[in-house]
Structure formats: C-alpha cells, structure tokens
C-alpha cells in the first residue's frame, strides 16, 4: 500500500490530534528553557492521567492511590540510578516493570472489594508507600534522593527530554486508544455498568481488572520516573496522597473516559500554579474549585463542556453519543 493511501486511511480526528501535537512539538523546541520545562512536565502528568483514566474512566474503578504508582516509578528510577548505577532509560523501564507488578498486586484486592472499600484501600496504599519511603535511608528518608542528571537535562538545553516526554505521551494515548477498542476496553465498560451481568456473560472480570491496574501502574510509573529525571529530585512529599487526588481531579476535570481528557486535565495541573506565579494556596484553591465544579455540575468534564458548547454553536439540537460507553467500534475521542 502506498504512503498516500496509508495516510488517507488515518481518520480525520486522529489527523487533527497529530497535527496539534506537531505544533506542540515545535512550540517546545523553540521556546525558552523554562517554558519548555513546564511543557515537559505537562506531558509527564498527562501520561500519568492517561494511565489512571484506563482504570477510572473506562472501568469506573475508583483508584485513589495512583500517586503510589508514580512514587514507585520515581523512587525505582532513583534507586536504580543511585544504588545500581543503571543508565537512565533502563532505570525508568525497570521502574515501569516493577510498578506493573505492584499494580497487579493492588489489583488483587480490587477483585474482591468494591466501591467504598476499594477507594479506601487504594487510598491507604498511596499513604503507606509514602510513609514507607520516608522511613528508610535506602530511599533517602524524609529528604528524598537527588539524581545526578544535570548532564541529561542539559542535552540540547532540555529538548531531548521534551521529545521523549512528548513521544511517551503520544504512546500513552496510543495504548489508551487500543485498550478502548480492545476486548479489555469493552469488558471494562461492561464491568463498570454491571459487574454481575458481566460475569454472567463469561467475561474474565479478574483478568481485565488486573490488566487495567497493571497498565495504569506502568504508565504512572514511567511518568514518575520521567518526573525524577526532569526535576532531578525525588522527594516524598511530591508523592503524598495529595498527588493521587491531583491526578484523579485531572482525569475528572478533563473528562473521564475520554481519550484526550487526561491531557486536558493535566494541563490544569501544570498551568494553574504557573499562572498564579507559584502562589501555592491560590493555585490550589483555583484547582479545588475547578474540581468541585466539574464533579458537581459537569460530570462529563471540560471536554464534555467544550463539545456541548461547540454543538450549541454549530446549531445541533440533539447530541450524538460521544462517550466511550457508546458504540465502541467507532474511534474516539
């Protein structure tokens, strides 16, 4: 098949997304060092949110410990770099694998528990990991660990890390999309709707739930590992339970269950502190209000809001179904 025909086969929506990322890429390459640093962090948080979206958005599993996966990724990378002296890419990959195992482990109670208990257990998971890394010198205790990545960060003045982050985010989107249209995605949606019915249909609830947790953990860990490389610091308070809530809010704000929702939500995680010039309490307040508003008034998130607005402008009166729970052979978002 010729390239032209192949390109023509790419759906319009995907082409728009790729174009948008292309523009983003250029912006990051040309900007000053500090804006590029912020953009890189945006990509990293997007990756983490994409991971959580698989569990939370597709499967409606309320995982409140996602920060724990990022913690495993960041600390895994730091330990691999500082104690084992592995190269950076290997460290991050290894952390990703480790986190996947942890994710599956956390997923195990998820099979038996539901709703409230699961939320509590995942929350407790996040807190416990947080306390654990603070308590041993191996992970730097309360001070955390520093990574000798000054050279890595200086490559092409941070553009290498930017490229890697962008590519990882795109990869994450790709993974998310393929889960969406795969058996696991369909299974998750059915489990989310009614688990007993799903089981009666012969769906391997255990397998698909574990797969979801494993994927979320892996993406979260890679995100955490990259965070460590980009900032050079792995400090416990970065991965406190508040981080779990932050990413959770990002997914909901952007639009849970949507493909690009997490990316949009993550933009707020990064943008609000920058816009408020680091006035911490103010930025947290704005974020909290946004979170509260979305959860109370706009359950479809900002993406849903934007689409509703566009539809109204375009004059449509009835909204064609756009959420994931609908026809799953059509491509998202």
């Amino acid at each position: 098949m010729s390239t032209g025909k192949l390109l023509a086969k790419i759906p319009t929506r995907v082409r728009w997304v790729l174009m948008a990322f292309g523009l983003l890429l250029m912006a990051g390459m040309l900007s000053g060092d500090y804006p590029r640093y912020v953009l890189t962090l945006w990509m990293i948080y997007s990756l983490s949110a994409i991971g959580l979206n698989i569990v939370l958005g597709f499967g409606k599993i309320y995982s409140l410990g996602h920060g724990g996966f990022m913690l495993v990724g960041a600390y895994g990378t730091a330990v691999a770099l500082n104690h084992f002296h592995w190269p950076a890419s290997v460290a991050v990959a290894a952390a990703g694998v480790l986190a996947t195992l942890v994710g599956i482990l956390i997923g195990l109670p998820a099979i038996r528990l539901k709703h409230f208990s699961l939320a509590i257990v995942t929350f407790a998971f996040g807190i416990t990991l947080f306390q654990l890394v603070k308590s041993t010198p191996y992970t730097g205790g309360p001070q955390g660990m520093f990574l000798d990545v000054n050279q890595l960060q200086a490559i092409w003045k941070g553009r290498l890390l930017w490229l890697v982050a962008l590519l990882l985010c795109l990869t994450g989107l790709g993974i998310s999309y393929s889960v969406m249209i795969s058996r696991t995605g369909r299974a998750l949606r059915m489990i989310a709707a009614n688990e007993t019915v799903a089981r009666s249909f012969g769906i391997g609830v255990t397998f698909h739930k574990l797969a979801a947790f494993g994927l979320a953990a892996m993406l979260g860990a890679v995100s955490g590992g990259m965070h460590a490389l980009i900032t050079g610091v792995v400090a416990p308070e970065t991965f406190s339970p508040d981080l779990s809530i932050l990413i959770f809010a990002a997914v909901m704000i952007g639009g849970q269950g949507r493909l690009l929702g997490p990316v949009l939500g993550a933009a707020f995680v990064v943008a609000i502190p920058e816009l408020t010039q680091g006035a911490r309490a103010l930025s947290l307040m704005i974020y909290a209000v946004l979170f509260l508003t979305v959860v109370t008034l706009f359950p479809k998130g900002l993406l849903g809001m934007i689409e509703a607005g566009v539809r109204r402008v375009a004059g449509e009166t009835t909204a064609p179904p756009k959420t994931v729970a609908a026809d799953n052979t059509r491509e998202a978002p």
Partner: protein
C-alpha cells in the same frame, strides 16, 4: 500596556528573548531571587528570615542603594518541599534571570537548590539558613554560607554543655530530625562523646514536625539518659518538650541546635527548659543593643513581624550581601561578586562574630554563641565558642 504589547511581551517571555548583559542587573536595579518556606509546617519559623533580609534591603534602597542601584528581592514559596524549591530555583535562574539566588531556609529545600545550583556554576547561591555540611564541604565556587553546620555546632558547643552540667553525664541520647546534616552531626557527636567517655544509649532520627512525639519520649524515658542532643524545627521542639512535661520525664541536661533559637520554641514552653537546656546561636538576639538598626529596618518594612533570631539572621545575610556588592563596584558582575566575597576578611557585621571568606573556605562565621533560657527569654551563657580542633 495595551493588548498587542502584552501579547508580544508574553511571546518574548515564552521564547525567552532576553536583553541584558549581566543577568539580573540593569542600570537601576539588582534583581535577587529566593525560595523560602512561606507557608506550610515550618513557615512561622523560616519566613521571618526572608522578611529580615528584605527589610534590610529596603533600608539600603532608601539610603541610595548599591552604587545607585536598588535591590529587588523576590521570594517564592516552596512550602518546605524540595520539589518546589528546585522548581523555584529553576524559575529564578531561567525565567526571572536573577543576579543571584539569595537566602532561603531549611536544609531539605536548600539541599535541593544546592543540587540544582551545582549544575549552574555561574549563579551565586548565598547564605541560606541551612546547616548541612555539603553546603561548603567541599567548597563550591558559587555557594557561600553564613550558618555553621550542625556538626560544627556540636563540636563547638557539646564539650561546653557537658562541662556545665551539675553532674557529669554518663549516658547520652541522640534524637534529631532527619534532614541533610543530621548524619554529620551524629558523627561529630560520637567523636565528642567518645573523647569524654560518655556512652550513647539511644539514637533516632525522626521526620520534621511530627504531630506526636509520645513514642520517642517513652523510649527515652525507658533509657533515661543523662544528656540528650536533639534538633527539630522550633515548633516541633516545643512539642517535644511539652510531651516530656506530659510524660513527666526530662533529661538532666539537653543540647539543641540553632533551629531552637526562635520564639516559636520559647513561647509554648515557657520557663520549663530553664537551667538545663543549652542551644547554639550565631546572631545577636534582637534584645541586644547592636541589633537596633536591624530591628528598625524590620519595623519600617514589616511592622507586624516581631524581631527574632531568624529576622536577625536575614538581616545579617543581607548586610554581608550588600557589603559584597558594594565592594564589587559599579561594574557589578557575578564573577566580581564572588571575588569580593572570597576576599572578605574579618568584616564586622556588629551582630555576629567577624565574617571571613577565603577561596577555599566559603563558611563566613567561625563560632557559635551558647544560649540558654531564663524566664521565657533567651540569654547568652558565655563567650562565643569554637571547635576544639
């Protein structure tokens, strides 16, 4: 500024089109940046250091500035988070193009900034309130300190404390917050104790500002040491002492590091530590006559801020910074500043011992002042102390 110009300015900021020759220096302004815990668990203790420094800079600006330039000192909040501290440092250097990173407080955050600054060797990092050895050991060209590190404090003052005890201690305990500098302090303590024939029966590190010290005090109580060395943020230390009161146990002698010399420690504990606590200090207390101009400056800029040891330290840091910039001259460059500092010998700040730097020693002060408490006030217990070596 109309919309178009605002847009262009934003674009320029995004693509970082800078214009000045020496970063942070214009014809009229010197721009300094800093990161401090302005909110969060140690804010009440750490933030005053920034206010003390800013107040002094304001006074200098009123008196004409430094060779005709006004100092603009902008402090960002890191809320005692190492992550945010690095972010702030990055912003200060890359986005705000500051002349130097100045001040700051607490060893965890200062450590993080240090890591970043080591990768930016042209940017001066001056005088954080942080007592970890790595700040000046080994000497880094662009990093200068004024606060003696914890190990130094122990070596200088522990023998004095032991000597002062009514009955010579036979056993000792180490209960210290887990921050950069703690391990070096532990090592120094072990050396001093060994030299004096005192055995160490308990050593524990804890997280800064934990809400409940009961398990630690109960453990200490069961070991019943004659001497306890400890360190925590002032508020945490206050809680530690109140827990001792509640559990009805205290050691006959206690030694605390510089973090204690703050009113957040004194106010809650009242006269409980009188007679058996000694703590290390390095700046004149606000009540001393020589502290007057710092206090006046503070009152002019921050009338609601009570003078305390941290505002005094901030004032000291600012004084040294201004002196160095003055010595550098009208042609103010980062390299010139570093040079001026390295050639400072025996400068009299009036509120501390003589301040000296050399190309191989970037620690400005060389003695600690022994403090005790009496009737809810800090009092000096003797002349400044240096380590025996």
């Amino acid at each position: 500024m109309n919309m178009r110009r605002a847009g262009i300015a934003a674009l320029c900021a995004f693509f970082s089109v800078a214009a000045t020759a020496e970063p942070g220096v214009t014809d009229t302004t010197i721009f300094l940046g800093g990161s401090n815990a302005l909110s969060g668990p140690v804010a009440a203790v750490c933030a005053p250091a920034s206010y003390g420094a800013k107040a002094w800079f304001d006074k200098v600006n009123r008196d004409g500035g430094v060779h005709g330039r006004k100092i603009d000192y902008n402090v960002l909040d890191d809320a005692f988070s190492a992550q945010r501290a690095v972010s702030n440092a990055r912003r200060i250097v890359q986005q705000d193009n500051a002349f130097a990173i100045f001040g700051g407080c607490a060893s965890p955050t200062s450590s993080a900034i240090l890591q970043y600054v080591v990768g930016q060797p042209e940017v001066p990092y001056l005088f954080p309130w942080a007592a970890m050895n790595e700040l000046t050991e080994p000497t880094k060209k662009n990093v200068f300190a004024l606060l003696p590190n914890y190990a130094f404090q122990v070596r200088a003052m522990l023998p004095f404390t032991i000597q002062r005890a009514a009955v010579k201690p036979k056993t000792a305990a180490f209960l210290m917050m887990n921050v950069p500098g703690a391990e070096d302090m532990r090592k120094a303590m072990k050396e001093v104790l060994a030299a004096q024939g005192i055995s160490l029966v308990y050593e524990e590190l804890f997280e800064v500002n934990i809400p409940d010290y009961t398990p630690y005090i109960l453990q200490l109580k069961s070991k019943n040491p004659d001497l306890v060395l400890f360190g925590d943020s002032a508020a945490g230390a206050a809680r530690l002492f109140l827990t001792m009161k509640r559990q009805d146990w205290r050691p006959p002698t206690a030694f605390g590091v510089t973090t204690l010399t703050a009113e957040q420690f004194l106010d809650p504990v009242g006269d409980y530590p009188d007679g058996w606590l000694s703590a290390a200090g390095m700046v004149s207390p606000p009540s001393a006559p020589e502290s007057k101009d710092c206090n006046d400056a503070l009152k002019a800029s921050y009338p609601d801020q009570k003078p305390n040891h941290f505002t005094m330290f901030g004032c000291l840091a600012a004084k040294i910074g201004v002196e160095a910039m003055n010595r550098t001259g009208r042609n103010l460059t980062r390299a010139g500043l570093i040079n001026a500092l390295e050639n400072m010998r025996g400068y009299d700040s009036k509120i501390s011992g003589p301040v000296s730097f050399t190309p191989t020693d970037h620690m400005g002060t060389s003695a600690v002042v022994p403090f005790g408490t009496k009737g809810g006030q800090f009092i000096t217990l003797g002349a400044p102390l240096k380590p025996a070596r």
